[in-house]
Symmetry: C2
Subunit: 326 residues, 2 copies
DNA sequence: GCAATGGATGGTAGCGCTACCATATCGAGG
DNA sequence: CCTCGATATGGTAGCGCTACCATCCATTGC
């Protein structure tokens, strides 16, 4: 930077301003500095800048996994919105493990990110304490917390699951089984399972533990769970899979086995994934505002960085996508 | 840090060592410092550390998109390997736009990442120059460059595509159409298309432009392209889709339309995506070492940071996954 | 015509850490 | 007993930038 300043015939501080706050520098000075930067091949040292300004212009985000495209859409929304405002996005994955989540967040705090976006509302108490102590703005995504850490944006996983069960009931199904993800430290999955039970209760149906399967989010597991349900409890007439990965796996299993859907068993998912819409029969699912969750999360964080108060909770709702599978 | 030092009764530099190079500090001192850190709630300031040590222990990576799980696997491999060695991964997406790739890399260089992992071997000349000038270790992934920027790890997209055409020919298909991605600044897609033509030429078949479709990687586009091919050139007996997203879209279109596969038209993809294996008929595809590409990229970069010379190029090959769709 | 105003630029100090060298301490060996 | 080397700890300087205040000049209003 000293080189650039010498080359342009100005003080280093003016170069700094030309790079970071161009509006505060006269047009001709700016031109001279830009040429000098070009000539010297200067690359701004963001690390030094962050240290001096006490702001990194980076936001850290934790998602369970990258391989599930539902979170990819949210990250895309986050990233685009942040980039437009001159911020960068750091991404970490927790692999659905709260301890890994904590470690990723600790690394973010060491990097002094200006804000953090977490997936879900269940976090280790130690992590909650660390976040509070650090004073870093935080937004929880993909569910509505009863007690937000700071801010949140998402939808009610409980209500979405209940609505899907209502839909299945309205289609005349009564013996509705459930395939969902593991519930340990996963508020979204827990809420969906509770929504399933609530939907049954509402319709005067009783929830049977024999109708419930919990398994990691992989196509094969959806297929395996359905096959198991059909053999152990053949009386079922519908399956609600609380994730499209599992639902698609189940549906493909039916197609492979020649089981009519919804003739033998009706199927419904959640998440509104693109692949479900391509299948025959089209998978009944639930659309969530995946991209918008990210975009809103970005806005909320930037607002908080700009001085807005914590406590914002945004509900983006959901939309039923009825398909021929139910 | 000064607080911690006072609390533990040592000099700040000893605290620094306790955090960064614990082996150089006596056991009892370490214990005292650890307790002091606990008590004061000290969080290491990685930004200041990076400035002083001239090393950020961060690697930047650019992928075309996050929503395609094939790159997610590579990122997972990268991330795990890096974490195990105390490095962190920054992720940026180019959206298949070389200008965006350049901007993402520029941001990485400003952050002074210790290494960069790029997807593909086609980059804007300005970017190549910037990377050379910066001296940052770089590894190109997912293809074998004729002229590597620095190091590379991947496989021959050309040979993989040609092998798939050979497979289709061996199954008796002669009028083989092609559905691939847009070729602009995308070396993988270009190589696959060349592989397709080479495979045809080898078998004494001539490549017809009317048999070729180029379209962005979305399920719907695979379906649309196949439908278009079947109506405009109904004589085709096989389609090679140079990406599983397009191939799955095409296969689902056949299932929906009641077209027998491979009876009416045989189908083959590339990428070995999990969904293709779940379909009926199972999609013929090609497995690439997606995770290993990332893991190797990490090793190579860390080697370069440790002083290894540039020029390493690793070919991880590919494996044909014959399915019932061809 | 002169103070008041505002825009452009510069000097200085310091962000929090670590590299480098210096120093202190201890036990082993001659 | 003294030297030597190994291990543990400390002092100092500086990484490259920006916040803060000061300065300077041109313009404006009365």
């Amino acid at each position: 930077m000293a080189d650039v300043a010498r080359e342009a015939g100005v003080a280093p501080i003016t170069v700094s301003r030309a790079v970071s706050h161009p509006s505060q520098v006269a047009a001709h000075t700016l031109t001279a500095i830009r040429r000098a930067i070009e000539q010297t091949g200067y690359v701004r040292h963001a690390v030094a800048g962050s240290l001096a300004s006490k702001a990194t212009r980076c936001i850290g985000s934790v998602v369970p996994v990258l391989s599930n495209s539902i979170f990819a859409d949210t990250l895309q929304g986050l990233s685009e919105e942040l980039e437009a405002r001159g911020y960068r996005l750091l991404i970490g994955s927790s692999q659905y493990d709260p301890l890994r989540e904590q470690r990723v967040v600790e690394a973010f705090l060491e990097q002094r990110v200006d804000g953090i976006a977490l997936t879900g509302t269940t976090h280790l108490p130690a992590l909650r304490a660390q976040l509070k102590r650090s004073g870093t703005p935080v937004v929880e995504m993909w569910n509505l917390p009863t007690r937000p850490l700071d801010c949140a944006v998402g939808f009610s996983n409980f209500a979405a699951a209940r609505a899907m069960v209502r839909h299945l009931v309205s289609r005349g199904h009564r013996r509705i089984a459930y395939i969902g993800g593991p519930t340990y430290m996963n508020d979204r999955t827990q809420a969906r399972e509770r929504g399933y039970r609530a939907g049954l209760a509402e319709a005067g149906l009783k929830a049977r533990e024999a109708f419930v399967r919990r398994t990691p989010f992989e196509f094969e597991n959806g297929a395996r769970a359905l096959s198991d349900l059909l053999s152990k409890t053949p009386s079922i007439d519908a399956v609600f899979a609380a994730s499209d990965v599992l639902a698609v796996g189940a549906l493909l299993y039916c197609l492979k086995s020649g089981l009519p859907v919804p003739g033998r068993v009706a199927l419904a998912g959640l998440d509104g994934s693109p692949i479900g819409a391509q299948l025959t029969p089209e998978l009944t699912s639930m659309r969530f505002a995946r991209r918008e969750i990210g975009a809103h999360a970005a806005s909320i964080l930037l607002g908080r960085i700009g001085g807005a108060l914590p406590g914002t909770v945004v509900d983006l709702g959901f939309e039923l996508l009825p398909g021929a599978s139910s």
